[in-house]
Symmetry: C2
Subunit: 293 residues, 2 copies
């Protein structure tokens, strides 16, 4: 550590330069690089908004309360990052895709690593609730050739807007989640229930913030997918229903226009019978296109 | 709450605009204004630094751990704000002073509201430790006229670098702190001990950050003052010793050049006798100039 005798004193004008000049020669280069951006922008926020001491204290308390809310079961700072669009932006800068590849979106907190493996066509709606849904499609490479053996993890909220892990007493274990394997033509299919929108947890600091900003807490209806195959980049994404009232108002900004899928309602009794579904039922067909690793 | 059908979807390019467009018509105007600045700068940080998902998770964990460290006795988010120069900047934008007025600096966590009132000349060093110090001066208005009856709260760390409240077992209660009243000529004086530098708490997340940045945790030696008089803006400030090795490296950026005082060591036995001090002793004279309310 050095203590040069000619370091500048702090002034309002030079504030971020003075702070950044303190990093020593043995600083971690990446931490230093990130903190240079963080410090400059934090100081810019203070200069733009000129918070009173009381407002600054409120911000300190907000961050403290957010930390206190975090537990094994809840991560309020991730939720804050989600609600400010930061998580989606981090996702975006890490998953820039070549044109033609399926776009990615946030993983969310409800993925479970080892959900049950099913044969194609199986029904993951274990309690029979909600309107039936048939999902089918292919996993393809950038040349639209099938990726045989690709695995698809699938999970979604119930028609009441809760994931199985949120309601261990009200839903069967692994309800509305499962793993499928694409066949030799890259094809997959499964039966499920039509998804519904649901609110992010809004009884904490993030909920208070949304209320102060007159924002609503709902995520639009979607089905999650994690599609993986050797030699390809893993794809974390959702398919969104086009008719959800919150489609253009996702509280965590996860919707990409290219991921709004053509879910269609059908009363075709012959097709329903062939698929093992009652009528009416919903149907969506979707091809996932993976980019190379 | 409104759910317009033509809201734009999130894209990397438009990310902060999309987030900010979500604030509704009933948003708190000040919260909305502050969050506009916060969101734009947070997104700029992500775009500049392009954190990996693992780095983003590290940031989430850092903030979570910082919140968890906060207790009745410790405020790690204030410490983080201090160590990034944010507290001093907030102080600066709230306390712009007319030329000639004494500059302000941070209050810090060791002020005690009702410390004992003493007559001028009293000794606040209750355990007799350290090198003796004589502090005297005046409280003046902008026209350099005395402000009779101004009160001065004074507090400082021990020669070992701890405040009384940090060492309730090792120091007498109210050691090195007290309240004085300026006389008819605005004069005040007291006896104390020569202050020493001390580290901010660095066994938590802020300490880890300082280590990653190769920064040291010490604050340079100083005596705190809170000077108040009816009709004048309260002045929270420090006097810094000019010889401290950390003078230009304050871990919380509290030093302003105008607050470095001419502490002088004296062996004048006659003067020492008159002041009730042994030789050698330290001496500093300082006039505080208050701006009108």
């Amino acid at each position: 550590m050095v203590t040069p005798g000619n370091r500048p004193f702090f002034t309002e004008e030079s504030s971020s330069d003075v702070v950044l000049a303190r990093s020593g020669p043995d600083a971690d280069p990446r931490v230093k690089q990130i903190m240079e951006s963080v410090v400059r922008h934090l100081h810019a926020i203070v200069k733009e908004t000129e918070p009173s001491q009381a407002e600054w204290m409120k911000a300190i308390q907000f961050l403290t309360d957010t930390g206190k809310l975090c537990s094994e079961w809840r991560q309020e700072f991730i939720l804050l990052s989600d609600a400010l669009g930061v998580s989606m932006l981090v996702e975006a800068v890490n998953n820039r895709k070549p044109a033609g590849a399926t776009e990615a979106t946030v993983l969310g907190p409800f993925f479970v690593p080892n959900s049950p493996h099913y044969e194609n066509g199986a029904n993951i709606c274990l309690d029979g609730k909600g309107e039936p849904l048939w999902v089918s499609g292919r996993v393809l490479d950038m040349g639209r050739r099938p990726i045989a053996g690709a695995t698809l993890d699938v999970w979604q909220a119930s028609p009441e807007g809760f994931y199985d892990v949120q309601e261990p007493d009200a839903q069967p274990a692994n309800n509305l989640r499962g793993r499928f394997t694409a066949d030799a033509e890259g094809r997959f299919s499964f039966r499920s229930a039509y998804p519904r929108h649901y609110p992010i947890p809004h009884d904490g600091t993030v909920g208070k913030m949304l209320k102060s900003l007159d924002r609503q807490p709902n995520r639009p209806a979607h089905v999650h997918f994690l599609v993986r195959a050797p030699g390809f980049r893993s794809l974390t994404t959702h398919l969104f229903t086009p008719d959800c009232p919150w489609l253009r108002d996702d509280a965590v900004f996860g919707v990409k226009e290219s991921l709004v899928a053509a879910f269609r309602k059908s009363s075709d009794a012959a097709r329903a019978g062939a698929l093992g579904l009652p009528t009416p039922f919903w149907e969506v067909a979707w091809d996932f296109v993976l980019s190379p690793e």
